[in-house]
Structures are given as structure tokens and as C-alpha cells.
Subunit: 138 residues, 3 copies
């Protein structure tokens, strides 16, 4: 069994951002030499997500608005977690979108449907953040 | 390490549908010959889910109503994604229910609690759709 | 390839509870002897979650309040599932928080960011419940 690990680092300028990280994960997969197996891609932060969906800017706008409706940022004092912090809503948004994805590796490729792309979803950014890529297989 | 891959195809008649795919996944597992390992089951579409819950029609009705409340289909023009499409809500419903499940394989069986069953959850159907089953182990 | 399996049992006193199970999962990992691989940790019940987030009591209070807003317990007769049961809301809360987590194992450790901790989230407790830990790797 082969195993491979890499951290991807991102300089997140804004509080909320969606970044397509599919090319970086594909490059990890090539580097790993794994042909059959599983890739785990997870946020290493608890106010961020890794998820699979469409690379379409209208949808990303809709996601942001929708998540804000489900878990509003303001007023920040509605959350007990917000003592010296203002990111409680980010912990909720991340649960809706998920922490991680597991993707099949087949013949050395991410085994994806037509529109599947991997995103890092940030809900409390404005600093450097990281994603873990772990690949196991043969 | 053994590895196994199969696509399950479904002809989805309605816009929304929940299908119990546990028997198909069990049949893949037998075919794979894997006794100890992991099964990944994921939707290959970005408006659909694979999730584990109860095979109870009342609950499925409740899920549909609840998801409609969290992410309403209409009015379709409330979503920027809906330019020549009307499925933005389906991209949201899928995030709540999840893209994939990972299930342990123990002694050649899906290692499940009493009530766990695997479902394909469709939110934008009325065409042929597919699910990926990937099994790794020994 | 090594594989390891253990059930963790918990006596859940209240209807809803969040339990930090990171030490138990770490102890499974040591027992398994796996140095590189993946850990799957999942609820074996369909009204409970395993998720990764912060070990902060204010946040857990916020989660409980937030989940109650997204999927209210009462009135119980708003759900068709509640025929001789009152736990339909728990099936929904569990979908928001997720069934399982998959964690990378690197050099014999859970490969975690600074604040990541694993929780069992119960939404229909007051009896004994269990979590599955499955580890594969080398």
C-alpha cells in the first residue's frame, strides 16, 4: 500500500471565499503515483469546508446568500461562542457544507462525474489557511 | 490491496426521489471479494446525494418537506444560478444531505448498525443518473 | 494492509448531548498499530452524528439552539415519521451534522489541524448508543 500526504496552503483575503482546488488535488495524485485507491481532502480548520459541486459563480453567490440565511453572521451577540470572537456562524456554515470529501482514484485519475469539482470553502478567512490531501492505494 | 469499481445507473422518473440502494451495494461488495476495508458510495451528480438513514416512507416525506423549507425551489428567479436552469435549490439540498458515504467492510459485510440503509437522493431528476461504488481492502 | 475495528459504547443520559471522543479514537489508533492510512468514525444510529469541530461549550450551546431552529422537535405531529415516535427532528439534525468523519493517519497520529476534535452528537438519546471505529492502512 502506498500512502501520500500534502498540505495545500492558501492566503485567504476575504472572510468568505470559494476556491476550486481540483488542479492542486490532481497534481498531488500524479505525485503520489497511486493508480487505485482513495483520496481524502479535508479542511484543517473548523470554520471552513471542503466540498464538491459546480464551478459556477452564480451558484457560489447563491450558496453564500443561502448559508447567511441559515446561519446569520450578525448580530454576533446571538451566539455564546462569540466571546472575543465573531465566527460562530462560520462553525455552522461549515457543518452544512461539510469538512471533507473522499474521492475514488481509478486508473490514476480522480473518478468524477461530468461536473464534479473540489472546492475549499472559507467562512472565517483573512489569513493563511490549509487543506490536507491524503492518498492511500496502489 | 484489492480494488473494485462499479457505476450503478438509475432511471429517475420524478424531480425528487429517494431510492434504497443497499442491496446493490451489498452485491458489489460480494463481487469485489473484499473482506476487510472501506466502501465509498457517492453521487456522480452535483444535484444529488448518497446518504444513510431509515427506510421509512413517512420520514422520506418529512425530509422532502424539510429540505423544501430550507432551500425552496420557487420562485426560481431568487437564485442567480437559474439562468436557463431551475435547479439551484437542488445544489443546496444536496449539500444538506451530503454527496457520499464511507462504510466499513468487516468479514465481507457492510458494517452497519441496526437501521442503517444507503439511499440515493435525487433533487433534479427526470433522466438517467449514476452512483459510484468504490471498494478497497483485502 | 492492516485493518482494525472497535465499537465505542456510550450511556447517553439526555436526549441531546455532544461527547468529545478524540481520546477513545486515539487509543484505537495506538491499538491498531497503523502508521499510515485512514480512520473512519461513524455513528451506528440514524439519529446521531459524528463530526469534527471545536471543544467549546458556548459553541455546543449555539449548535443545539441552531439545529432546533432548522429542525424543531415540537410540535411532534408536524412530522409523518412521528407515529409512535417523536424523533423525526433527530433524523434531520443528524443530516446537517453528518454521519461520519474520515481522518488521515500520518506517522501513527490523527493528522489534525490545531483545533480539530471528534464529537459524537446525540439527538435522540436516553439509552446506550455506539460508534464504529474502522482503521485501515499499514
Amino acid at each position: 500500500m502506498k500512502s501520500y500526504r500534502k498540505e495545500l496552503w492558501f492566503d485567504i483575503k476575504r472572510r468568505r471565499e470559494f476556491i476550486n482546488i481540483t488542479p492542486e488535488v490532481e497534481s498531488c495524485l500524479r505525485e503520489s503515483g497511486v493508480k487505485e485507491g482513495l483520496v481524502l481532502v479535508n479542511a484543517m480548520h473548523i470554520t471552513a469546508s471542503v466540498f464538491i459541486n459546480d464551478d459556477e459563480s452564480g451558484l457560489h453567490h447563491d450558496y453564500e446568500k443561502w448559508l447567511e440565511r441559515l446561519a446569520p453572521h450578525a448580530p454576533v451577540d446571538q451566539y455564546r461562542h462569540n466571546v472575543g470572537e465573531d465566527n460562530a456562524d462560520a462553525h455552522m456554515k461549515r457543518q452544512v457544507m461539510g469538512r471533507e470529501v473522499v474521492v475514488a482514484v481509478t486508473e490514476g485519475q480522480l473518478d468524477f462525474g461530468t461536473w464534479e469539482q473540489i472546492f475549499y470553502g472559507e467562512f472565517d478567512g483573512r489569513r493563511r489557511k490549509r487543506v490536507l490531501v491524503k492518498i492511500i492505494g496502489e
